[in-house]
Amino acid sequence: MHLKYESFVREPLINGNKTYAQVTEDICRPIEQKPTRLWYMGFIFSLLLLGFGAFSVTWEVYWGIGTWGINRTVGWGWDITNFVWWVGIGHAGTLISAILLLFRQGWRTGVNRAAEAMTIFAVMCAGQFPIFHMGRVWNAFYVLPLPNSRGALWPNFNSALLWDVFAISTYFTVSLLFWYSGLVPDFATIRDRAKTKLRKRLYGVASFGWTGTAKNWQRFEALSLVLAGLSTPLVLSVHTIVSFDFATSVIPGWHATIFPPYFVAGAVFSGFAMVNTLLVLVRKIFRLEDYITIGHIEAMNKVIVLTGSIVGVAYLTELFMAWYSQVVYEQQAFKWRVLGPYWWSYWAMMSCNVVSPQFFWFKKLRRNIVFTFILSIVVNIGMWFERFVIIVTSLYRDYLPSSWTYYSPTWTEMGFYIGTFGLFFTCFFLFAKYFPVVAIAEIKFTLKTSGDNYKREMQALDEKTVEEFIHVAEHAH
């Protein structure tokens, strides 16, 4: 007998009496049924948001960046705030699928698929901002190191913005590959179950002719491991490089060596919050409570309280460093950040990001679905404010008081942001309808170890004496 044993102290990762067949049935059900009315409503609403975003962006590209509220002093506003925010959200997916895979965290299987999808969609949303914040977006390809007829004209490899281009595109590519390679066996499952010709054909193409042979599985495992290895440094590098946009500058409030770890922690923080937001909804709508259990939610809430505390320490460190530096520009920048006209954004950030996650020290609250859902949204609001605080409240009052100014967004900027929600949810609704939102194959790996029914069986085994156990084990073949 291939003995899989997991301590009873650990709660099961899959609830109910599940067999492999049942798992497949549960997860494929939403794909094979007609979408619900709720799905249609949500999908159409998302499309409307996307449409409004497209309109706002078209307006901005046609008339100019002047339709935004940014100005001579505050050159980046909602655009880059949203960019950093979306990129940050993307981090949870990669962290779950790559780092937790390497650490062999079984609980990741319930949530990794949705989290990875979220990563990809979030990075897609994030990418819109640096592209459309350009004054001449039609020349955006200048940032690519393409051979050209302009002589030895290359992009400026000193610019952190250029590093972003490479970091984000690499990240997106690797995440997409990772996500899709995981989907291949599941697509094959759907293909094999398909009752319509079209579905068979489409999933057949999508599954790249997966046959489920041992060689298939062996290569699949190898690829997963390689991609996990590739993604792991990316989790750290992407937001590190995003933070370089600020850290390599000369602006007080930006020019800080603490930024890379602080940004990565913040990214994981907001990413997990977003995963929670989505999964609380998904498990409810698609009745996947057995696969995405309270235990999963709690595990993520633990990450949230950890990373939330890390960013809290970072905020306090920034204040300490400003004081300790004895540099007047640095000190005043933080003073204006905390007490200036934008005081509300700083305190919104502080209360959402540092104070509110502390509630998760209480187990009761960690395992409370409604509370988790509310807090996950609060955290994401807080993280949005963090980016706003870093970007806008560093710029608006920097070195020369003559140039100090104020910034408020216009409808085009807000429309752009709303539009990316449209893009995100449009993608997510399509994903939830047509893709298995829980990794079927991967969850089956853990089923016999961590499934509720199997654990119960194991309990019976566990109660036997050693001799009896050996007897059972020997005759199990």
Binding site: W76, G135, W154, L162, I251, L339, D398, L400, P401
Partner: protein, 1045 residues
């Protein structure tokens, strides 16, 4: 011949069936795809077609993307024009004279391909001494103003020939009646001649000179005091002490261009000779915060009704009478100190009041301190203002009484700027006929029967005599753009003269200057001046006691309102429709596009619920108040200005124009109705009632924070402390950078004989990167904060030279303005105490850092460094990420938020707010400088150190075969600066002026803004030296800093 058979192996020799099969098959090893190839090649889009499809779709996308661009036609010269007159793309320079309502400034006009594009001062003039102001520079834009009349009009309808106006006007004139010719002050001798011919032709006709902002109080006072109805020439360059009572002599008072150029020569301080530094002392007592007050060494405030008392107190203090109190301890203190200084000689007292009695007292003081003949010149008197208010009032009365035959208006607009314009407007139709020579359908022209537009001065022949005996000539720099006719020609025509004005003009000057050759030389120079100037005196014979009694009896009100001329728009006129001036931030308030009520912070806060920008306030909406003088009322928003007397408010004229004056001119309100007539002269300061309203109105202000927060971005010292320790600044800098200049860990203490800051060591040690040698040219600029008055002439010069877009009020409200050069104005002191306020002006443009933070962040290297130290922009490469602007510590980078001037890739998306400017009109476009790229939407831009001028200077030197000489390359701001506070040149040239300023003559005063960042700027500043007892900024009394306002 036997054919030898060669075979490659036994298979071939034996020709086995297997071998046969193999050689039939071209590829002996199966291609890996061969297994699939049947299907692949039979597919509807096989692999080989892929490239076709790719090619097609790329081509299709290219065609689809190549949207049609608007075609702009340029017509080349088919026949080369006379090379002496015009070489395409090579500029010609003509000496000419700016004239506007009595104001005249000798200038050089730069023309390109036959169009004037830039106006620079004529340094040969000893009157203006290379001075110029913002309005003079902005005149090119007024030349190409779309609102100018393009032909004559009769009763509001255009006519195509001058006959159609000449005939009826000649008829009207000959039909009798008392004719009036109403003009501004005429400074042209030949025009006066023509006017006299006209008056001779129609006996009984009268010539009225009318100045909307008049100096008739001074003219009349001088008549009473010296028997001369004239304004003297003032020699501010000879002044040791100046005491100004409400006279804005650096901004708008009388001939301010002349005075600011002269006065700032007394403000130069050399660090090299600090121990013996001499600097004039400037006292200012005034009601409002004027530009001159902002530059004063000692300043105190009083109500304008108390100007007489102040003058009397000063008179008593000087003549040794019983001390008189003005009611303000600060003013008394100032008067006492000033009296002592003025008696030392070379003193001068000037006063902005239009009250005859006050001016008589001022004359008495000047006489008592011996100013006449030393700082006041009575031989070469000033012609700038000649209007007598009473004449104008009696003219309007005559008009109202129906006693006027034909009335002709030239350069005046009483329907807008007369104090009782309503009366004028009602009375004007009572004249039998009315003619306007004005250049646009302004408020008066609309009411006139005939409009016979005059040429713009850039299209005219003419002359000016700003000071008696000092002549300056006008020559046309472009053929008249429209069907206009010289005012003088019209008068001559109607006088029945057969000569044209140009003939008279030519004859006059040829005979006066003694020959055509002399006249040609004078035209070329632009000026003709007496060879041996002498300052003439005069003896005072007025009744000062009577004046003191009358002036002291003047009653004031709880609140008083001052009506003033703003630096941009002046008295109004055509300037109201000049977008460059509308968008030029007012030097003191930094407001654009509007007029408003200037009010002290204390009064605004306590009485009218309005605040200075405080710690948590960034409010653009300003509270509107109603200002009432007599039965006239004007409602305007409050702009809080530190330094205003707590009971005094001030409003600018020139705003709130009729839409026909031009679409840029309609903002704000007309404030001329707040002027009153006291029976003798116009009063520009009156008792006022102020009523709070609940309405708000947005004002576009470019600077909302007023304190420089005691940051070392500015350095101020008192003259005494500077003389005592001139090296204080060097020591401060050395201490700040010590870590990098003296590397303690290496035990490196370079021996420096002067003990100066080792800039090279800082450059090298402040970075971990290698330091490049900088051979050849290295451009550098030095700005003297001591002589900068903040007048903003450089701001407009920069705009004109570099085709900088006007963005409009709406965009300024969003802080999206685009000026490359701005003047930062900081206040220090207690906002509640106007007498404690000190102001400082700091022009800021791109600092051209050698280690520029903008350069390394640009992802596409669109901004980079030239080998000459310029931080340059490749507009075509810029994709507009704005990262550079964020990372600029000086915030000097400007982004093209919209398509302001039709240079964009998209058609039909021009930005228009309905009043911005007409730069997309073919006429207005003529003002663009062809040497400077017009930037498209979405790219970053900024000061280039006028790189087009630098290149030109280098090319000229190269063609002439010698190294470029110092001073050959001058930036537009440098040329425009009346006070010569900008020095520019090649720092590597040890003979250059910039080198001397920086490293020899004035090194004690040199500092770089944000030097500690190691961005290595190429612009340095010279510290501000105040001739006063204490620097307020950052001190105990600097409430502005403590409250972070």
């Amino acid at each position: 011949m036997s054919q030898k058979q060669y075979w490659k192996g036994l298979e071939e020799l034996e020709q086995t069936p297997e071998h046969q099969q193999i050689i039939e098959n071209e590829f002996q090893n199966d291609l890996p795809v061969l297994g699939l190839s049947d299907k692949l090649l039979d597919a509807t889009t096989p692999r080989r077609d892929f490239l076709k499809f790719l090619g097609f779709s790329t081509l299709a996308a290219t065609v689809a993307a190549s949207c049609e661009m608007p075609v702009r036609k340029a017509i080349p010269y088919a026949i080369r024009p006379d090379a002496e007159l015009l070489t395409p793309s090579v500029p010609n320079y003509y000496a000419s004279t700016f004239v506007d309502n009595g104001e005249s400034v000798s200038v050089i006009v730069k023309t390109r391909d036959g169009r004037p594009i830039m106006i620079e001062p004529n340094t040969l003039s000893t009157v203006t001494k290379g001075g110029i102001n913002a309005r003079v520079i902005a005149a090119t834009l007024s030349l190409y103003d779309k609102a100018r009349l393009r032909q004559p009009y009769v009763s509001g309808k255009s006519v195509d020939t001058f006959e159609k106006v000449d005939t009826p006007i000649a008829q009207a004139l000959s039909s009798g009646g008392a004719h009036y010719l109403v003009t501004g002050s005429i400074v042209s001798p030949t025009t006066k001649d023509v006017i006299n011919r006209f008056l001779a032709k129609y006996p009984g006709a009268k010539h009225i000179q009318y100045d909307p902002v008049s100096y008739s109080g001074m003219l009349l006072a001088n008549e009473m005091s010296y028997g001369k109805r004239a304004l003297p020439g003032y020699h501010f360059d000879k002044v040791q002490t100046v005491f100004s009572i409400g006279a804005d002599f650096l901004g708008s008072w009388l001939s301010a261009v002349e005075y600011s150029a002269a006065f700032t020569t007394t403000r130069k301080v050399l660090g090299k000779d600090a121990k013996n530094a001499v600097m004039s002392k400037h006292y200012q007592v005034e009601g409002m915060m004027s530009l001159t007050g902002a530059n004063a060494d000692e300043r105190a405030t009083c109500k304008p009704s108390e100007y007489g008392k102040v003058a009397a107190a000063l008179y008593r203090a000087i003549t040794g009478g019983a001390a008189v109190s003005t009611g303000s301890a600060n003013v008394d203190k100032l008067v006492k100190a000033a009296a002592a200084d003025l008696k030392k000689g070379n003193g001068l007292v000037v006063c902005g009041s239009n009250d005859v009695n006050v001016q008589v007292i001022v004359n008495a003081i000047n006489s008592a301190i011996g100013a006449n003949g030393t700082t006041i010149d009575w031989s070469a008197t000033t012609n700038a203002k000649q209007g007598i208010d009473g004449d104008m009032v009696s003219f309007v009365n005559a008009l109202d009484a129906g006693q006027v035959g034909t009335v002709l208006f030239h350069g005046v607009n009483p329907a807008y700027d007369y104090f009782d314009s309503e009366k004028f407007k009602k009375a004007l139709p009572k004249a039998k006929a009315s003619v306007s020579f004005n250049d646009r359908m302004d408020e008066t022209t609309q009411l006139c029967t005939y409009a016979v537009p005059d040429h713009h001065w850039l299209e005219s022949w003419g002359d000016a005599e700003p000071r008696v005996g000092y002549y300056s000539f006008i020559q046309p720099t472009i053929a008249p753009l429209f069907k206009t006719r010289a005012f003088q020609d019209s008068l001559l025509k109607w006088s029945g003269a057969s000569e044209a004005y140009h003939d008279i003009y030519n004859q006059f000057w040829v005979s006066k200057l003694g020959g055509q050759a002399n006249f040609d030389k004078a035209l070329q120079d632009g000026v003709a001046e007496p060879a041996t100037p002498a300052i003439g005196g005069a003896s005072f014979s007025g009744n000062v006691e009577d004046a003191i009694a009358k002036a002291s009896a003047k009653k004031g009100g709880k609140y008083e309102v001052i009506v003033y001329e703003s630096l941009g728009l002046g008295y109004g006129g055509a300037w109201s429709n000049n977008p460059w001036l509308q968008e030029m931030p007012d030097p003191v308030t930094k407001a654009t596009w509007d007029n408003f009520v200037c009010m002290s912070p204390k009064t605004a806060k306590e009485q009218f619920d309005a605040e200075l920008t405080g710690i948590n306030q960034v409010v653009r909406e300003k509270r509107i108040v109603k200002v009432k003088v007599g039965n006239k009322e004007v409602a305007l928003p409050i702009v809080v200005v530190p330094g205003m007397h707590n009971d005094v408010i001030a409003v600018a004229v020139g705003y709130g124009r009729d839409i026909k004056v031009g679409r840029a001119s309609v903002n704000g309100k007309n404030t001329y109705p707040l002027v009153t007539f006291n029976g003798q002269t116009f009063d520009y300061a009156n008792e006022a009632a102020i009523e709070k309203t609940s309405d708000l109105y947005p004002i576009a202000i470019t600077q909302t924070h007023h304190s420089y927060e005691d940051r070392p971005i500015l350095r101020e010292y008192t003259l005494a402390s500077f003389k005592e320790n001139p090296r204080e600044l060097i020591e401060e800098r050395k201490k700040e950078l010590e870590h990098y200049t003296h590397l303690h860990w290496e035990g490196h203490h370079p021996e420096d004989p002067n003990g100066d800051l080792d800039e090279k060591a800082f450059e090298k040690n402040g970075t971990m990167y290698p330091v490049h040698e900088k051979p050849g040219i290295k451009w550098g600029m030095s700005i003297d904060l001591n002589t900068c008055t903040g007048c903003a002439a450089c701001v407009v010069a920069c705009q004109a030279e570099n085709n900088i877009s006007v963005v409009g009020k709406h965009e300024v409200l969003k802080s999206q303005e685009m000026s490359w050069l701005r003047i930062d104005r900081y206040f220090s002191g207690n906002p509640a105490d106007p007498d404690s306020i000190q102001a400082v002006f700091q022009p800021v443009m791109c600092q051209h850092c050698d280690n520029a933070p903008c350069e390394n962040v640009c992802p596409v290297s669109a901004t980079n460094h030239s080998s000459e130290g310029l931080n340059q922009m490749a507009y075509n490469r810029c994709i507009g990420t704005k990262y550079c602007a964020n990372n600029c510590p000086y915030k000097v980078r400007r982004f093209n938020w919209f398509d302001f001037n039709g240079a964009d890739s998209f058609a039909d998306n021009l930005y228009e707010d309905g009043q911005r400017d007409d730069i997309n009109d073919d006429l207005t476009r003529m003002v663009l400088n062809p040497d400077v790229t017009v930037r498209s939407r979405g790219v970053m831009e900024k000061c280039s150190f006028c790189v087009q001028r630098l290149q030109d200077a280098k090319l000229v030197a190269k063609k002439e075969g010698h190294p470029m000489k110092d001073g050959a390359a001058k930036t537009a701001c440098q040329v425009a600066c009346a006070s010569n506070c900008i020095t520019f040149g090649n720092v590597n040239d040890k003979e250059s002026e910039i080198y001397k300023v920086r490293y020899e003559d004035n090194k004690e005063r040199v500092f770089y803004m944000l030097e500690q960042l190691h961005v290595l700027p190429n612009v340095n500043y010279l510290s501000k030296i105040r001739n006063t007892n204490a620097i307020v900024a950052g001190g105990e009394t600097d409430e502005m800093y403590k409250q972070h306002i």
